[in-house]
Structures are given as structure tokens and as C-alpha cells.
């Protein structure tokens, strides 16, 4: 057992650090530091830079354009990316539909879709949940009826994150209603958002932002060649996708970065004339958070190490989802508490670039603290709620 990085790993870290210093655009960094939501062009521009340097598909196999990095290299990359406060890669193409396509898709479907996913030429969104199918995803009702060379889709998908930007959507839909188990008869379809019959309605979330949408399908005709893998096997493919999603959800490096900044904030914000970090009850929460964060980091590393020795991540990744989201929420909660009264102003535009410093109301260094806290209550709900994760661990790890 050994904690230290090898000489090669240290050299790799220096390369990555240099990459972020030289190529991460200053205007995007400024927005990230001020907590301003990035627009579509920001994401695409940054992802194209990552792609040019071969860093866009960290977890993909080399043959499909992935990095082939070791777990330690991935850990280093994630850490440096968080330290630079660079935005995460938008997951729907690169972390979700991409792996499903290269794992289960035909050669022609791989050729059609993977290059544009890698190059961020196409913005993907997710058609999973429905108004009546959340945690119980297998109860989904969206129908895809075969008519000649097309499937005709009818139904409603919801919680479609950033669907307002999307060019394509991947959809779980029923192609067969006459099945013994509800998990059967579901297919995984790819659908152009410009197809007639698709409409997108915004859902405004708790903090006032437009992040998620409801997507309606009315007689939407999808060519049969847009079916991934076999008809009726969509549930199996969808589960693989969710496992990819879950490990990314842990966001350990991001939480470490945010926690380090929180400690700085607690040193500068005053409480009773002394730094907040010296208030015993707040300090106690900071320590508890640091302990939990360290435990999560090492659980994540142990999982990575297990994967590198050939063991599948499997249901244990559910631990990372549960603890990772608890961690993010705990840190957001402490930011909120650290802000004191300045958690209250509701001025979402307050941090836009073009507002002069003297016109800003809020003096705290972490902008829109309360909005983040409220928004991130979503973390323990999405990607399979944390209660569903516990069901998964109970069944597949504990054998209950």
C-alpha cells in the first residue's frame, strides 16, 4: 500500500495542470467563479477544446476515442479540472448515450453518432423519466409503434435537463405491451429533436432557473435504423447507462474544491468579531464534513482501484451516488450558513459579468449561495433517488 504518485504520474499531473492554465478560456472561468449559469456556446466551445487535446472522453475505450488512462490518471485529471474550476462535460452525450451506443450499437450506428458526440457537434438530452414513472422507471408508458420503416412515438418525457438546447434525444419507449415482466418490451431509440410532433415545455426549478423540461411526443416518426441494439432490450441498456451516470455523480474532486473555498470563506467571514471558522459549532460541522469527504474520496479511489484490477464497479457505485450527493448538499448547506444575512437577496443577475463591482449588493465571495443550496436538493433525487440506491445495495450487495 502506498499513497504517493509515481514520477510518471507527477509528470502527467504537470501536463494536465499546464493544459488548464493555457487553454481554459478566461471568460468561462470568470463565469464559473461568479456562479453564473453557462450558456450553450460556452459549454460547446470548452468541450471542443477538450476534444482537440484528446481529453473529452476520459472513460471511453481507446478504440472509440477514449483516453485509455489508468484510474490514477483519471483521478488526477478530475482533481486538476476541479482545481481550475472548469465546468464538467455535459453528460448526456459523452457519459450516457455514448457508452450505450459503443457497447450495444451496430457498426453503422456507431459511425453515425459517435464522432459528433466526441466533437460536441450534437447536443443530446435524456428521455427517461415520465410524469407517472420516476423511481419506478419500468412503469413508463411512452409508446413506440412500428409502422413500416418507422417507429411512431407517443408520450411524455420529463426532467429533461437542458433539453432546450438539444439537437437529439435518446428515448426509452415501449415497443411491445404484451410482455410477462414490465422491464421487457422497452426499446432504446434515438430521435432528432427537429422531428415534427416534438414540443418542449420549460419547467422552472425551485431557485427560479430554467434547467429542466417536459418533452411531448405526438405521432413522432423515428426511422427504424435509429433503434440501438435489439428491440425490447432497452431496459438492460438503460441500466448500464445509469451506472455510468452514478459514478460521475459522486463529484468528489468538485466537492473537495468547493470545501477548500468554504474554509477560506469561513476564515474571512466574521461571527461575533472573530472568524467564523473559530465558532465551535461551525468548526465542528466543517470537521465532520472534512472527515466524510476524505472517506468518500478513498471509497472512490478504492472503487477505481478495483475496476483497474478487472472487478466491475457494479452496485457499489450506488454508495458513491449516496455519499457523493450527501456531500455536495452538506457543503451547499454550510455555504448557506456561512453567508448569514447575505444568503437572502434574490437577484439572480447580480453576478453577471457586465455589472460593475460597486453595483453588486452581495459582498460574499460565493455568489447566489442560497440558490445553489435550493437547486442542489435535486442531487439526492436524480439519477435514481438515494432511496432507490439503497434498494439496489440491499438487493445486489447485501443479498436481501
Amino acid at each position: 500500500m502506498d499513497l504517493s504518485f509515481s514520477k510518471d504520474e507527477l509528470a502527467f499531473r504537470d501536463d494536465i495542470r499546464r493544459f488548464f492554465a493555457e487553454h481554459y478560456p478566461a471568460d468561462i472561468r470568470e463565469k464559473m467563479n461568479r456562479g453564473i449559469r453557462l450558456d450553450k456556446d460556452d459549454h460547446v466551445r470548452w468541450q471542443k477544446i477538450l476534444h482537440e487535446h484528446g481529453y473529452i472522453a476520459v472513460n471511453w475505450p481507446v478504440e472509440y476515442g477514449g483516453t485509455g488512462w489508468s484510474p490514477v490518471q483519471k483521478y488526477i485529471f478530475a482533481t486538476e479540472m476541479a482545481e481550475a474550476n472548469a465546468p464538467d462535460v455535459v453528460p448526456f452525450g459523452l457519459s450516457m448515450v455514448g457508452p450505450v451506443i459503443y457497447t450495444f450499437g451496430s457498426e453503422s450506428i456507431k459511425e453515425r453518432f459517435l464522432p459528433d458526440i466526441l466533437a460536441s457537434n450534437v447536443w443530446w438530452c435524456q428521455g427517461y423519466s415520465e410524469p407517472g414513472a420516476g423511481s419506478d422507471l419500468a412503469s413508463l408508458k411512452t409508446q413506440a409503434v412500428r409502422e413500416g420503416d418507422h417507429y411512431v412515438i407517443n408520450g411524455t418525457k420529463t426532467w429533461t435537463t437542458l433539453g432546450q438546447h438539444a439537437d437529439w434525444i435518446f428515448v426509452l419507449a415501449r415497443t411491445n405491451n404484451d410482455v410477462a415482466r414490465r422491464q421487457e418490451g422497452i426499446s432504446f431509440l434515438l430521435c432528432d429533436m427537429k422531428t415534427p410532433g416534438i414540443s418542449v415545455r420549460p419547467i422552472i426549478t425551485i431557485e427560479g432557473g430554467h434547467e429542466v423540461n417536459e418533452v411531448h411526443f405526438e405521432d413522432v416518426r423515428v426511422p427504424v435504423e435509429n433503434l440501438v441494439g435489439e428491440e425490447g432490450k432497452g431496459w438492460t441498456y438503460g441500466k448500464v447507462l445509469l451506472q455510468h451516470e452514478r459514478t460521475n455523480i459522486a463529484a468528489v474532486a468538485r466537492s473537495k474544491y468547493r470545501f477548500a473555498r468554504l474554509k477560506e470563506l469561513a476564515r474571512s467571514n466574521l461571527h461575533g468579531g472573530s472568524p467564523l471558522i473559530e465558532q465551535p459549532s461551525f468548526k465542528a460541522k466543517l470537521v465532520q464534513t472534512e472527515v466524510a469527504l476524505k472517506a468518500l474520496e478513498f471509497t472512490d479511489l478504492r472503487t477505481l482501484a478495483a475496476i483497474s484490477t478487472g472487478k466491475a464497479p457494479g452496485p457499489e457505485s450506488s454508495i458513491l451516488k449516496i455519499k457523493g450527493t450527501e456531500m455536495q448538499q452538506q457543503i451547499d448547506n454550510l455555504y448557506l450558513e456561512a453567508a448569514g444575512y447575505y444568503a437572502m437577496p434574490f437577484i439572480p443577475d447580480q453576478f453577471k459579468i457586465d455589472i460593475a463591482d460597486e453595483d453588486r449588493v452581495v459582498a460574499t465571495t460565493e455568489p447566489n449561495t442560497a440558490l445553489k443550496y435550493f437547486n442542489y436538493r435535486k442531487a439526492s433525487i436524480y439519477g435514481g433517488s438515494n432511496e432507490i440506491q439503497k434498494n439496489i445495495i440491499a438487493k445486489h450487495v447485501l443479498g436481501l
Binding site: D2, V72, K283, A295, T299, K390, L398
Partner: protein
Amino acid sequence: MDFSITEDQTMLQDSVAKFIANDYDFDSRQEHAATELGFSRERWTEFAELGWTAVPFSEEDGGLDGGAVELMLLMEQFGKGLVIEPYLPCVVLAGGVLKKAGTDAQKATWLAPLIEGSALGALAFVEPQSRFDLNNVATTATKDGDAYVLNGRKAVVLNGGAADTLVIAARTSGEQSDTDGISLFVVDATADGITRNAYPTVDARQAAEIELNDVRISAEQLLGDENAGFATLQAVIAEATIAICAEAVGIMQTLNYKTLEYTKSRVQFGAPIASFQALQHRMVDMFVIYEQSRSLLLHAVMKYDDGDMDEALAAISALKIQIGTEGRKLGEEAVQLHGGMGVTWELDVAHYFKRLTMIDTLFGNADYHLDNYPLD
């Protein structure tokens, strides 16, 4: 970065695990715990023959050159077996001070018998008023010509009753809570002026209150430099904290296993109680606590072996906080899920729970480590 263990380490782990599984049954453990000695001397001899008492010592000292990793592997298995033999006080604590501060001559006289298993040791570092502060030492060692004279009272000295050799922290200068001015001495437990009042502890170990009344010892019994004992004491307690936390992780794994097995077999309302979601989620929480604790244990072990003492102490405090809060919660849940059986003397679960709870108290509880945690 590497989480794997070597072939030798795997062999050590396997040999202890095999012994615990085949030769360390709960019923004879209970019988031995109920004797006046409180453990089995025969088994202790066996531990020595198997080389386990030699693990954390260098080859020059007659040991096996084990580090924190070996100690962790061994203690984890001792946790699973709920081992009551005095490995912690004898090998890790008394042996730890001797290996770090002793001269070759002192090691030959005092340490070798501990490694061979022919003598037992204890470390007297707690006092009635000190609570968890290692620097709070009121016991005095006054120089008198070539000799030192010890006076004071040592509290809850683990294995203090059966020990042949006592290592004692005493003040040679400074105020009661100064870190400077503490010295360490090795003393024959039967020396004149020593009164021992031995008793069992709630977790089936043994301890003693020890009165030191004009105990005269020679200058050759001073371990390390005069007044400079604190750093040694701190380093030994750090290693011992890793040891008990590894023991705790072994206990937690066992409690989880036993709880799963029990809830799968216990039928109420016409179904195994393991089929109830209210209980399933609690067992998942216990599983997650165990995995998170193991992660912090590996972190602390690797930091300790890295050699930066400040970083190691922070990592050990983080581990101790986890064991003392989440670990104790796991113990309480294990008892709760066993229902009435969980609070009987007959069931081993109750005894695992008691040991896990007392581990929080040893070497500073969770609150103590939380208050003293260095937030960088």
C-alpha cells in the same frame, strides 16, 4: 498510488484469520474472560509462537519488521474474533515505547521478554484528572542522586494487573499540562512502592489503578531523553489508535454479517424481517458506514507509513471521529436489529457492541478529536 498488499502481508492476514475462525471460539473466550486473569495465558504463548507478538518490531530488535499495514491486518482479525489477550497494552503500547525510546541494552532487558511472550507489559499514561490529554501528567519523578523517585497515581492502566513490566509517564519538570518535562520510565511491576488495584472492564479486558509511592528506580530505567517523553508517547498512541480502529473495522464487518444473517432467518408477520424495507435501508446504512470507515482506515495507515507526523495525526483523528460517531451508530443498530436477543449476555453481538463502544473512549473520543482537529 497502490491499495494492494504484499504476499507476506496476505500470509499474515490469512494465518490470523484461520486461527480466529478455527481456534478462537466465542464460548472459550467467555470462559477465559471470566477467570481472574481475564484471558488465556496459553493462547498468549501461542500468539508468541506464531510470531504475532514480534510483528511491529524491527529485525534488530528481534521482530518481523512490520509497519502500520501489518498491524492493521492483525488487529482487524482480532476485532473479528473479539480477542481479549493483551496485544494492545503489551505489544503496541508498552512495546511501542520501548522500541521507539529504548537503548539496545534496555530492549534486551525489557522488550525481548515481551516479544518472546514470557513477560507481559502495560503503559501507564492516564491519570484520574487527565481525561484524554497526554500532556496532563501530575505523577512526578524526582531525581535523587543516581536514582529517580516516582510518586503519583495512574488510572485505568490497560493490563496493569497482569503486567510484569510497567512503562510509566512521569513529570521531571514543568507544570502539570506542559508537553515539555514528561519522561518515560520502565519499571518492574512488583517494585517496592507500587500498589495495584486490578479490575475487569466492561468490554472484557483488564485494567488497574496504580499507586506510586516513593518508587525508587535507577537512571538506567529512563527511556529516551529526560523531559522529552511527550513526542514518543504521542507517536505510540498514534500507532495504537490505528490498531484499535482496525480492530473496530473488523468488529463492524462482523456485526454487519451477523445482523444480515439474523434478519434473514428471523421470521415475524410471516416473513423474514430482512424483507422489510425499513430494516433493509438501515442495513444499507450500516454497510456504507463500514465501507467509509475502511476507507478512512486505509487513508490513516498510508499517511502514517508516509512519515509526515502532522498529516498522520490529522488522518488518525479523522478515522477516530468516524469510528466514534458512525461506528458507534453501527453498533447500536446491530443491537436494535437483533431485537431482545441483542441485549442478552448470551449473544456475541452484545459483546462486539461493548468493545466497539469502548474503543471510542480509548485514546480520545470523537469529540476530543473533533475539537483538536487541525483544519488547514
